[in-house]
Symmetry: C2
């Protein structure tokens, strides 16, 4: 059975991405990160989603990315700003974590190499846009080129590990519709940056999520404060 | 004063690389990794070298890369193989850690972005060759291209973070000579993979190091078992 490493935060996007990988016939190897994010609660959702999709294995990488600083998500002294669901490209919010997707993809590639997976799935999207530079198509394109020379499996064995981004060009509305169609257990997901049991409803992540559900005409099953 | 993030393992190469950055007028921000490597003892050397060069800051990233597996350096069940100082390109040894340099460079780039550093220094070299695909020039070239679109500082502010590899084309002999000329406190460095107080003298890393010292006609000041 072909294997895929899936980057799984437990949010709407990565959960939908897991469903896509599963539907495409991959055996799921999930990878999640405790990077000392304030919304560490998302990892409970990640576990629930990995379990739901019968992940063959689910590894948790723990890393003190707060030592690097520079982000409201890892520095308790920076307040999570109120969200803006229509962010322009040059408006990168304080919740941006320097090079986070690059770091996460690098681990995922390492894991894919170690278990001889064919693909890495990441649920980034650039339509209803987080404002993060490492969610854009040009970033992924360059990462693909790099992946092709970065590992033993690619450099020596000439096997490529595919970097799959099934949500890249979907709007949040389309992601919600797709998740619903695929039967993603949306009630298990967690997207809010603040990290309470109930979603705050006002951070960037909540606003984008609520916009997607509203435009899809579907009620978000997670509780809001 | 211009800032550089220096990837510092405490070995011969990264210590020499630190000396080069210092000589070029950079203020040193060192970054070291406890990735559950068997030779964690190298971090004592990293600290000593950072102190020696008056690093403005030295951060330690802790991360359970052993969860990924696939390497003799992070898996206690895989023996560190005897070294071969004349390794061919397709002979990647068991000490290869999947995507390690990619992961380390990604953190270094994140740190450089967070502190607004101009450059990242990494002491990789591809002449007396470790056999690791992520030590080759083509890997670094692709990483540079990726770095230019991966971060806020590059994508939005159009400022590039330089990825400096001053040792890339040096032989181990040349590195030893350069280290000696620069006054690197070689007695403080640690290169051995096995991780004892004394270097084993037979692993890949020891063999390459000893070859370099022998060819340079200089006595290695660290104790061997």
């Amino acid at each position: 059975m072909k294997k895929a490493v899936v980057l799984l935060s437990g949010g709407l996007d990565s959960s939908t991405c897991t469903a896509v990988a599963k539907k495409e016939g991959y055996e799921i190897y999930a990878i999640s990160f405790d990077y000392h994010q304030r919304h560490k609660i998302e990892l409970k959702s990640a576990k629930a989603i990995a379990d739901f999709y019968g992940a063959k294995k689910h590894i948790f990488i723990e890393t003190n990315m707060d030592a690097i600083g520079g982000s409201a998500l890892t520095d308790g002294n920076i307040t999570v700003p109120e969200g803006d669901a229509n962010r322009s490209f040059n408006d990168v919010p304080d919740t941006y974590v320097p090079a986070r997707n690059l770091i996460f993809l690098s681990y995922a590639l390492a894991y894919a190499e170690a278990i001889e997976a064919e693909a890495v799935f990441i649920g980034i999207n650039s339509v209803d846009y987080s404002g993060y530079p490492d969610c854009r198509p040009e970033f992924i394109e360059k990462f693909r080129e790099l992946a092709d020379v970065a590992t033993k499996i690619s450099a020596v064995d000439k096997k490529k590990i595919k970097i799959e981004t099934p949500l890249l060009n979907l709007s949040k509305k389309e992601i919600v519709l797709s998740a619903t169609e695929l039967g993603v257990p949306l009630e298990l997901t967690h997207s809010c940056y603040v990290g309470g049991e109930k979603a705050c409803g006002v951070c960037d992540s909540c606003k984008l999520r609520l916009k997607g559900f509203a435009e899809a005409g579907i009620k978000d099953p997670v509780p809001y404060a």
